[in-house]
Amino acid sequence: MKKEKIYSIWFLMPAFVIFAVFFLIPVLSSFFYSLTIWDFKTFTFCGFDNYVMFFSEPSLNTSLIHTLVYAFMTSGLKVLFAFFIALFLTSKIRTKSFIRSAVFFPNLVSAIAVGITFTTLMHPTKGIINIIIKALGGSTVNFLGDPNIALFSVIAVDVWKGVSIATVIYIAGIQSIDSTYYEAAQIDGATFWQRVWNVTLPMCAPAMDSVIILSLIGGLRCFDLIWAMTGGGPGFATDVIASVVYKQYAAGFYGLSTAGNVIMLVLISIIAFPLQHFLIKREEALS
C-alpha cells in the first residue's frame, strides 16, 4: 500500500488558482500580445517587430540605459548613506527617537507630492535651492531642465525619499548584533572604525542584502517619482522603461507597451536572480 500523504494536493488549489489567475495567465498572455499589434479588440500578429522597435529606436532604447543608471545609482547611494545614518542612530546619542522619526518622515509622503514639491524647489529661477545658491554667490543650476543633469536630480530626490526604509532595515540588523562581539573586539584593542569594519559590517550582511535587493528592484521599476518630476523629459532625458511603457500604452500602442513590460520583467529577472543568489552565497560564507 502506498504511503498515505497527510496533506492532500487539493489544499494547494485555492492558492494555485489565485496564482494562476493573477500571475501565470497575465504573464503568458502578455508574452503573446507583445508579439502583436493590438487594440484590445483585434490583434495582428507581427512577430518580434515590437521588440526590434524597442531596441532600435533611440526614443525607446535610451530608457534602458537610464533605467540601469537610475537603479544602480539610487541603490548604491541608499546602501551607503543608510548604513552611516543607521550607525549614527544606533550610537549613544540623546535625541535618538526624534532623529529616527525625522529620517523616516520623507517615506511617509507620497512620491507624487515629493515630486511636485521638489519640482518647485528646483525651479531654475524661482526655486528656493537656486535662490540659496545665488545668495551664496554661485551660478544657478537648471536641475530638471538641463538634460545632462535632470536624471541625477531625480536620483538625488529618490535617495532622499528612499534612504529611510534602508536605514530602518539597517537599524534592525545592527541592533540584533550581540554586544559581546564589540566587547571582545574592544578588549583586543580595536578602534571604532575597526569595529565597524570587522564586526558591524559582516554581522549586518543580511540586512544589507535586503537593502540592496529591495532598492535595486525598486529602482528598476521606478515610475511615480520620475513622472511627477519630469514626465520623462525634457525630451527623453529622464525616460525609464516604466515611463516609456506608460507613454506607449497611453498612445494606444498596446502591443508595443506590452513588449516593453516583458522587457522590464526579463531585465529585472536577469539582474535580481543572480544577484540574490550571489548575496545568499556570500551570507552563508560569512556565517
Binding site: S8, F11, P234
Partner: protein, 477 residues
Amino acid sequence: MKMKKLLAVSAAVAMSATLFVGCGSSDSTAASAATSVAAAAETTAAEAATSAAAESSTTEASTTETASTEALAAPEADLSGTTLTVLVDADTAAEGYEAVFAAATEKYGVKFDIETRVGGSDGDNLVKTRLASGDIPDLTLYNCGAKLFALNPTEYFYDFSNDPIANTFDDTFKSTVTYDGKVMGVPVYTTQAGAVMYYKPDYEELGLSVPTTWDEFLSNCKALKDAGKTAIAGSFGTSWTSQVIYLGDEYNVLAENPTFPADFEAGTAKYATTAAGLESFQKLADVIPYYNEDYTATTYDDAVDMLANGEATHWISLTQALGNMQSLYPDAMDDIGVFAIPGNDPDNCGLTVWYPSCWYVNKDSANVDAAVTFMEYWCSKEGLDIYNANSAAYGPTCIKGYSLPDNVLKCVKEDMQSYFDAGKTAPALEFETSVKGANCEQFTSAVGTGQMTAEEAASQYDEDCKKQAVQLGLNWK
C-alpha cells in the same frame, strides 16, 4: 481513503468559498447599485421622451432656418434633475463654457459636474485611459482631427450626423470631426492659429516691424536680446507648447509642397527628406538662444503673464491663449499683436489654423438625450452669443450663418483676419491627416533643449508617426 479525499476536496472548497465571501457581499451591493442605476435610467428616459417631443418640434423649425443659413434657435426642454458630468482641460479658458453652463442651468434646470484634467500628452493619456476603462463622462472636451481619430471615436461617442446642428458646421471643420462618415463633435470655440503673439510696445520702442521671413524674425529677436529684453517666452514646463513652432510652420511646408499631407498619410513623404519639413524642426533649434533663462520650467500660465506684462516680447503658442490673457489682463489686450510663423518667401506669409477642441457626447450614457439637447443649445444663437460674449473669439467661427459679437479682440480682428481675407491660411497637419506621432512634444522639446539636432528629431519623428500609422492600419513600409 476515499473518505479522506472527499474531506480534502470539501475542505478546499470551503477555503476558497471563504476567500470569496468578501467579493460576494460587494457583488450584491454592485447588483443593487445596478438596479438603482437602471431605475434612474428609466426616469431619465421618461424625461428624455418629453424633451425628445420638444426637440422634434425644434427640428422642424430649425431646418427651415438652416436653409436661410442662420444660427439655430435654442431647443425647448426641461432637463431638471439631470446632472451632466463634464471633463475639460485646464488650458481652455473657462469663462465661456462656464457662462453657457450657468445659462443652461437657468433655462433647463440641468446641472453640471465639471472635472478638470491636464492638457498635453498627459491629458491625452488620461482621456484614452478613461475611454478604455469605460469611465466616460457625459461630455468630454478634446481635440479634433488626428488626435480624435486616434481615440477610435465611433466606439464611444454620439453621432451628430442626423442632428440639425451638424448642418450648421463649417465644411472644413466638419471634416475634422467626421470619422467613418459620422459627425462626432461640436465645436467649443472658434478656429485659432498656431502663431507668434507679440508685445507691441517693445516693437515700437526698438522700431521693429513685423517679420515676413524667418531670418527677419531671428534678427528681430537678436535686436531684442541686445536691448536686454527676453525675446521669446519658452513655456516647456507645459510641454505641448513646445510643438507649436514646428506644427505652426505647416503653412510654409505646404507653400513648397502642396501635396505634403496626402503624401505623408500615404507614407511617401517624410519630414527627414522634405526640405521645408526639416526647416520646421530647425526653427525649434534656431530660437534656443532667445528664450528666457528658465524656459524649461516656465508653464503656459507663466507665459501668459510674461507676454501680457511685457516681460517677454514673443510667445509662440496657440492663440487660444488670448482668451486666458483677456480674462486675466483685459486692459493689456491692445498691446498684444499676432503674426504668422514666417517662412522663406516674404510675399507668401500665411497662418496655420487650428480647428477648435470639441465636445463629445458619451453615447452609452443614461444622460445622452439631455447631453444632446444641451449641445443643440450650445450651437444655437443664444448659446453661441453667451459663449462669445464671455470669451472673445480667437479667430473666425466654425458655425455657418453665425456672426461673432463685436467684442472680438483687436489682434484677432486686425492681425489674424487679414490672413483669412487674403486666403493665406492652411490647416495644421493634424487636421489633414489621421497620423500624428504620439511623442511629438517630446521630440520638439528635445530639439528645443539642444539634445537632438533637427535632422535627428525629424527622422525619429517619422519613425514615431509610423507606429501610429501601423496602429491605424495604414500600410507604411
